[in-house]
């Protein structure tokens, strides 16, 4: 028996997982780990932008404190925008996904899902610029909002926090809808029926059966929305005003306008760390099972 374990066929079988992992691993190493190393190294350099000497490596951790100096308000603003957009997206996405997965006639599912994805056929940038027109001061939509007293008469929508949050919510909504839809669609509806047979009200059945079973979708959707929203700089650039910038805008301008590469790299790392902490806390709170799905379910 021992002999057959060492047989080429067996060896091949044991190598298969590595072979399958290889393309992804090589990709990640080349385009994530390696740039990350250089960025980390860059974040510890010191020097003056736009001089022949450039920046030299010197374990200069002050880039990190400098990157945070006076950033408090912007970091809070960024968290608030991304958090609110994620929450709003969840409020919009769940009922929508629920309806598509469980309530509508199955032959409508495909067209409805298609409608969810359709905006992706246009680029993100163009869609955001289109919102500039929709929310312009003289647009009919703003007139309606003023009529409904949602916006004050002398107020505006474009170039405000509201516009940025609306833009973020809109742009990342499909990332929330699709995972929730996927987990709703997998639910064995007999479980819900069983709950009702045991005298659960519709409400109880939802909160004690449906929602817990779809938590993986909710968690995945929230992360897929929150993470890109936190680092976004297109929405504040086009829909926000001078007082609505996010951390992404600052990184962009530190790198491309100020040419201060070390500080830009440090700020990027800090942002990554912040997102990582938020994500870990969130997964901890929601439970790992909710994140990767319980093993029971996998079988």
């Amino acid at each position: 028996m021992r002999k057959s374990e060492r047989s080429p066929a067996n060896l091949r079988r044991r190598l298969i997982p590595y072979a399958l992992l290889a393309p992804g691993a090589i990709w990640l190493i080349l385009f994530f780990v390696v740039p990350m190393y250089f960025m980390g190294e860059m974040s510890l350099r010191s020097g003056i932008p736009n001089t022949p000497e450039g920046f030299s490596f010197s374990w200069d951790f002050s880039n990190y404190t400098q990157a945070l100096e006076g950033r408090g308000e912007q970091i809070l603003r960024t968290s608030f925008y991304a958090g609110t957009a994620t929450f709003l997206a969840l409020l919009i996405a769940y009922p929508l996904a629920y309806a598509i997965a469980l309530k509508v006639n199955p032959r409508w599912r495909l067209p409805l899902l298609f409608a969810v994805i359709a905006p992706f056929f246009t680029t993100y940038l163009i869609r955001t610029i289109a919102w500039e027109t929709i929310l312009a001061d003289a647009s009919p939509i703003v007139d309606v909002l003023k009529f409904l007293a949602i916006v004050p008469d002398n107020g505006r929508v474009l170039d405000t926090s509201g516009a940025v949050i609306a833009g973020l919510t809109y742009n990342f909504l499909p990332f929330m809808i699709l995972p929730i839809y996927a987990s709703l669609e997998r639910i064995d509806t007999s479980l819900i029926e069983a709950g009702k047979d045991l005298y659960a009200s519709a409400r109880q059945a939802f909160f004690r059966v449906t929602l817990p079973l779809t938590m993986p979708g909710v968690v995945a959707g929230s992360l897929l929305t929150f993470i890109p929203a936190f680092g976004d700089y297109i929405n504040p650039e086009f829909l926000g005003g001078a007082n609505n910038t996010m951390i992404g805008n600052k990184i962009q301008s530190t790198y491309l306008e100020e040419s201060d590469y070390p500080e830009a790299a440090a700020l990027s790392f800090l942002m990554m760390a912040a997102i990582l902490i938020v994500v870990l806390l969130y997964i901890r709170l929601a439970g790992t099972e909710a994140f990767i799905g319980s093993e029971e379910e996998e079988r």
Binding site: G54, S253, D260
Partner: protein, 384 residues
Amino acid sequence: VISKRRFRALVAAGGTLAATVVIAACGGDDDSVGGAGEGERTVAQGGTPSGEVLISNWPGYVDPGSNGTIPQFEQQSGLQVEYTEDVNDNVTFFNKLKPQLDQGSSGGRSLFVVTDWMAKRMYDLGYLQEINHADLPTVFQNILPQFEESTTDPERKFSIPWQGGQTGIFVDTAQAPEITSVAQLFDPKYKGKVTMLTEMRDTVPLILQSEGIAADEATKEDWLAAIDKLRQARDSGQIRRFTGNEYTEDLTAGNIVAAIGWSGDTSLIGKEGVEWRRPTDGCDLFFDQAVIPVGAPNTPAALAFLNFAYTPENAANITDYVQYVTPVAGVQEILQQESPKVASDPKIFPTEEEIAPCSEDPDPPGSPEDVAEVEAAFQEVISG
């Protein structure tokens, strides 16, 4: 006309992705010294041009089409020209190219166009080749006297003027016909109805002049004080936002009543009654310069192209299309025949008296460290 700064934001979008890669590339060499140090400057080689040449310029900065400047040049010179419009923003272009220039390569470009202060910065970093005037007979025969020298390049050692323009204010005359000065943009009456430019060397000199300070004599403290004034106006909501070319869209949509903007952009504004004005309390000139980078292949072809663009007929075709200020003598006379409206446009052909008081996209004073400090303070205001 597509103005040159129009695609700033679009480029910025691609930028972040590129940034990661570029940071990686920068990290590669520890002692990132310029392509050529002081004292060992190369001079662009002249001679008879042949073969292929790659030229980079701002969008909409040359007469396009099958009968345009480039095909005509190809026909006359027998050269194969690849003309790309990949310069959208001085600093972004600089940061994109820097890793290559550090290695003494221009990415295949023989010639590109950047604004005067950027040309100076590149020269000081050893990224540009010097130009022998003997190789540019047509250029120096036809250049207007006021462009023969410049503050950034007194002897025209490395930069040849391409096109220029003025920074001033656009005013929606239906909404606020009374605005004629930069100082008025700070009037609370126009709160949230005013935008300014993200280009520091355009916005800050105008603020300085509105305070009665000559921009090229301003101290670092003056610059920082002007930037602080901007910060207060941002915090109070006076300034709606800081933009590149997007102010033209804000004016078209009626979101704002006035903006600091570039004289050549009039045609981008689709609203009646919006006009460009030279502010009564100051103005700013910028001039974009053709330069030959280190490592440029086929420099004879680049020089031949400049000579071609400086013949009055060819320059007139360019001006007629791009509607910015030309550095070439005789263009106005030709356009008086062919395009009288352009020839009489004071934005395209300002008189010497009109532009005499204008600043010229000045750098903040002091060492690179001081400049970086002012730059950081400005970016702090416009991006958080």
